[in-house]
């Protein structure tokens, strides 16, 4: 099934566009459906007779894999549809090769999810990194894209090394690297902790967890939009999958205090990501940082789940995991939708800089309105899907004061505050994003030529938008299927028995409930009613006029708020987050220019020093090799003498 995706081979551009990508989409749908339907079935295992002679590749299909396979399939289906219309000739890598890489990427992600031994997992994992790297550098003519690609692959590789080490610990002296062996082996606390931390590091590097996030805002904008969509929407989730797999499945019984680490990092990441998203001026970087934020939220949930599981409150752990899985699913749809939206804008205008966009809702209504769905969803507004998972997460947080640990039960509820803050900021970010790209007046005259999306692209966007809506409106059904996975991981699942299908009430002891359908119904009803009443009662003409210009006479688009301007309050409030360099025009400036460059403190703080250290180490060993043959002979001589002395 997954292999079939990988087997697709590119022939010609037309073929790639008309056949391969839609085919990929179909396979994606099939994958999603099969995975979703098989959710309650027992675990299936198989051994492929490839790989190392002593370690044939194992594959395993359990509920956790199924959930993520469903995510992969459904989200990638939409992206593939869009891609069918998106890729064109003459953009970096040839479309044929691009198609091959694209589908290999999908296939490797699928294989990551089913791999059941360390070797197979690592092969799939690195293949995923590799193919995505090639996709990122598809337009490798641009230096930024090249450096972004390098940074990405480097981080991926470092992460992979950590994961490998973690597996090396996990096998726990059995030296069998199949996951079954790891499940069976029991580790002493320090080793288990080490394995957990290494896994957290490795997968965190892939997910973009603070402080390993630096590659993400570089790589995602660099890639072609469908690829950014896949990376942000799906690939990051494989990291979540990895953490869950290692923590709850392979290690099995995490200690409660482990959870505090991902919890803390997650919260930091969430705030960090959203604050940086708010000050971006490049629409894809903005979305990338928003992905960082969502990753933070996900890790927060994971941490919460670990804490609850560790102290034995398994139902709550299950609930937190549900929130995590649900949010992964949501984010896959929302973020893919948004990235595809930017892709449409990019193709229509060739612009990524928010400062040169605007007013596109007139030129490209389809893209605009469909993107609006994603915007509202990711801003966490009911009745769309983004809200449901945040609601679940907050609900879980409300129990955290019951954790029987001093201080922790005081600190955890504050996490809820941070999550709330992040969610609210996400709203701010999304208003900025949509408002500046699609609303207002075009900031450039060239935008007048923008054209709306084509058929395939439209289909892809619609698919994802529908996904967002349905996930938002039918939470009970979704949770019901996700429960299968939490059942497997924590041995508990929220009790949904005996509740009406339109109502979501996962917590039995406190009858909290949420019925998105009803909300939607009310709002729609009121809107329609008022609309009709207004129409019927007061039939007054509507005059079009120039907007109010405060009497200054001429209103021009440059008077609108720029992206920088819209981010100004955030820069003002969270000033300590940024390394800012600004040059403000003096009052007497004839041609005043305002420029602000916001960059990441961590970059100067952590990464550059490391590179510097390496370079200095390299320089310091260089004198060993100064080209003089007598020196080299001396080395041999000394080596010989020393060896003889040792051997004697």
């Amino acid at each position: 099934m997954v292999g079939a995706v990988g087997l697709l081979r590119p022939h010609s551009v037309a073929l790639v566009r008309r056949v391969l990508f839609p085919l990929g989409a179909l396979i994606g749908v099939a994958l999603a459906i099969v995975a979703a339907l098989s959710l309650t079935e027992p675990v299936e295992q198989a051994t492929l007779h490839i790989g190392l002679p002593d370690l044939p590749m194992h594959v395993r299909l359990d509920n956790l894999s199924r959930v993520f396979l469903a995510l992969l399939g459904s989200a990638s289906a939409g992206v593939s549809l869009f891609a069918a219309g998106y890729f064109r000739k003459g953009e970096g890598t040839a479309p044929g090769v691009l198609g091959l890489q694209y589908h290999l990427f999908l296939a490797s992600m699928g294989f990551v999810l089913v791999a059941d031994d360390a070797y197979a997992f690592m092969v799939a994992w690195e293949t995923m990194a590799l193919t995505s790297y090639f996709l990122v550098t598809a337009q490798h003519g641009i230096p930024e894209i090249r450096s972004a690609g390098f940074l990405y692959l480097l981080m991926a590789h470092v992460g992979a090394i950590a994961i490998l080490l973690s597996f090396g610990i996990l096998q726990g002296g059995t030296w069998l690297f199949s996951f079954d062996a790891m499940r069976a082996s029991t580790l002493s606390t320090p080793w288990a902790t080490a394995a957990f931390l290494l896994a957290l590091f490795g997968f965190g590097a892939k997910a973009g967890l603070l402080p390993l996030h630096v590659w993400l805002p570089e790589a995602h904008p660099a890639a072609p939009s469908p690829v950014s969509a896949l990376m942000s929407g799906v690939m990051l989730k494989t990291a979540i999958y990895g953490v869950l797999r290692v923590t709850f499945d392979l290690i099995g019984d995490p200690l409660w205090w482990w959870g505090l680490i991902p919890l803390g990092l997650g919260l930091a990441t969430a705030i960090f990501g959203v604050v940086f998203a708010a000050v971006q001026t490049d629409m894809k970087r903005l979305l990338a940082y928003s992905s960082v934020e969502n990753i933070g939220v996900l890790f927060t949930g994971i941490g919460l789940a670990i804490v609850f599981h560790g102290v034995g409150m398994t139902e709550l752990a299950a609930l937190a995991l549900i929130a995590v899985l649900y949010h992964s699913l949501n984010h896959a749809f929302m973020k893919s939708l948004l990235f595809l939206g930017t892709g449409a804008v990019l193709h229509a205008t060739g612009e990524r800089n928010l400062g040169r966009l605007g007013g596109l809702i007139h030129r490209m209504p389809w893209a605009a309105w469909l993107t609006l769905v994603g915007v509202l969803a990711i801003a966490g507004l009911p009745p769309l899907n983004g809200f449901v998972s945040e609601w679940l997460l907050l609900q879980t947080f409300l129990f955290s004061h019951e954790v029987p640990q001093p201080f922790v039960n005081m600190l955890l509820p504050l996490g809820a505050a941070i999550v709330a803050l992040a969610a609210a900021l996400a709203g701010y970010v999304m208003v900025k994003f949509f408002g500046i790209v699609f609303l207002g007046q075009p900031r450039e005259s060239s935008l007048a030529a923008a054209h709306d999306v084509g058929g395939f692209e439209k289909a892809g966007l619609v698919w994802l938008a529908i996904g967002c809506v349905l996930l938002g409106l039918l939470p009970r059904q979704v949770i019901h299927s996700l429960a299968a996975a939490t059942e497997q991981l924590t041995g508990a699942a929220p009790n949904l028995a005996g509740q009406s299908w339109w109502l979501l009430a996962p917590l039995t002891e406190r009858d909290v409930s949420y019925a998105p359908l009803v909300l939607l119904a009310v709002i729609v009803a009121v809107v329609v009613a008022t609309f009709l009443i207004v129409r019927v009662v007061y039939r007054r003409p509507v005059r079009l006029a120039a907007p109010w210009d405060c009497g200054c006479g001429r209103l021009d688009p440059r008077m609108q708020d720029t992206a920088e301007g819209f981010g100004q309050p955030i820069r003002h409030i969270f000033v300590s987050f940024f390394a800012m360099e600004r040059d403000l025009p003096s009052p007497h400036d004839l041609a005043p220019r305002y420029r602000v460059k916001v960059s990441d403190r961590l970059w100067q703080g952590a990464y550059l020093p490391i590179a510097d250290l390496l370079q200095r180490a390299a320089n310091s060993v260089a004198w060993l090799q100064q080209g003089r043959i007598s020196v080299y002979l001396t080395y041999s001589f000394i080596t010989l003498v020393v060896l003889l002395a040792v051997m004697l």
Binding site: G359, I361, H362, L376, A379, G380, L381, P382, F387, W391, L394, Q395, L398, M410, P413, L414, A416, A417, A420, L421, A424, G427, Y428, V431, G435, I436, L439, G440, Q441, A505, D511, V512, S513, Y514, A515, V518, L519, I523, V524, V526, T530, V534, V537, Y538, P541, V542, R543, L544, A545, A546, P547, W548, C550, M559, Q560, D561, F566, P569, H572, I573
Partner: protein
């Protein structure tokens, strides 16, 4: 659910729709008295809305459909909120439709759409207003959530009607945590409803205005809906406050029209007091510079968090 219940629900929403402008008028009147001005009629808001519905609409040429849809959506969201909030009775059908968190979400919908509409025309003031309003919003929302959390920790639920019920049935006691959160809530209310000290509903001085700046391009029926929605928002906040802090008087559990009618006077009294209290606050405090607003909201947030900690510490 019985048809009676649905009818009651409908009536409650209707009551909210009717009372909201009145409450707004009442607050303004009180303010005028306190500032010893001659008070305008309490019914002035009704007149305003009626008048606006009678004008023909003028819409900027560069407006997109979103601009026209927004007022309806905002209004709808507010009405939905009103339906969820147990202003008079806690036993109504919609109690299960949304809990307090979802309620905050509903309010957020209104805010987001209003801001988007403001940015749609592409004038300097629209975007300026939108930006400032979102800034206030993202600071106010967590504060409000924290307030709700404290209440929910007290009553072990986040469903607003249940919070109210459980507060009522509990023996009357002093909750220091609630005191803190009440302060926080008041500050949030002021900020969210564009009152002094954060914003001045009476001004049209461009550089300081927030809420008005967003409505600058609206006219006639759209403006009317927006104004009405704003009034409704104030009313909703007041009712949330009642549910959280002074739930007494609201009819508990029952769904009968009679019970609802009985709880109406209580609501009116509470509204009157609240209005007076609001007006007083607005009179004694001075308008803040916009850059000071974050500090104001941060204080509110801090109060809410303090309330939370106090609760966790004292269990009360």
């Amino acid at each position: 659910m019985s048809t009676v219940a649905w009818l009651t629900q409908f009536l409650e929403v209707l009551a909210a729709l009717i009372l909201a402008p009145l409450f707004l008028g009442w607050v303004n009147a009180c303010r005028a008295w306190l500032q010893n001005r001659r008070a305008p009629s309490v019914l002035l808001p009704y007149h305003g809305i009626r008048k606006l519905f009678h004008k023909d609409a003028v819409i900027a040429a560069s407006a997109s459909p979103l601009f026209r849809v927004a007022p309806y959506v905002v209004f709808g969201a507010m009405v939905a909120a009103a339906a969820v909030i147990p202003s008079m009775g806690t036993g109504l059908p919609f109690r299960s439709a949304a809990d307090a968190i979802a309620l905050v979400g509903l309010l957020a919908i209104a805010r987001v759409f209003m801001s988007l509409a403001a940015m749609d025309i592409g004038t300097a003031f629209g975007t300026l207003g939108a930006r400032r309003d979102m800034m206030i919003g993202f600071l106010a929302e967590p504060a409000l959530l924290m307030v709700i959390f404290v209440a929910s920790l007290l009553s072990a639920t986040t469903a607003l009607p249940l919070i109210a019920e459980r507060l009522v049935v509990q023996p009357l006691a002093l909750y220091p945590s609630l005191a803190f959160t009440a302060v926080a809530f008041t500050m949030v209310l002021l900020a969210e409803n564009a009152r002094i000290p954060v914003d001045n509903p009476a001004t049209h001085l461009e550089l300081t205005m927030i809420h008005e700046a967003m409505l600058l391009e609206y006219s006639a029926r759209h403006l009317a809906l927006m104004e009405w929605a704003a009034a409704l928002k104030l009313f909703n906040y007041a009712c949330i406050g009642f549910a959280l802090f002074v739930p007494w008087g609201a009819s508990i559990g029952s769904t009968g029209i009679g019970a609802m009618a009985l709880s109406l006077p209580a609501l009116l009294v509470k509204l009157a007091v609240a209005g007076l209290w609001l007006a007083l606050l607005e009179t004694v405090s001075a308008k803040l510079r916009v850059f000071r607003a974050p500090e104001f909201m941060a204080t509110a947030f801090m109060f809410a968090v303090l309330g939370l900690l106090v609760h966790l510490l004292l269990g009360a």
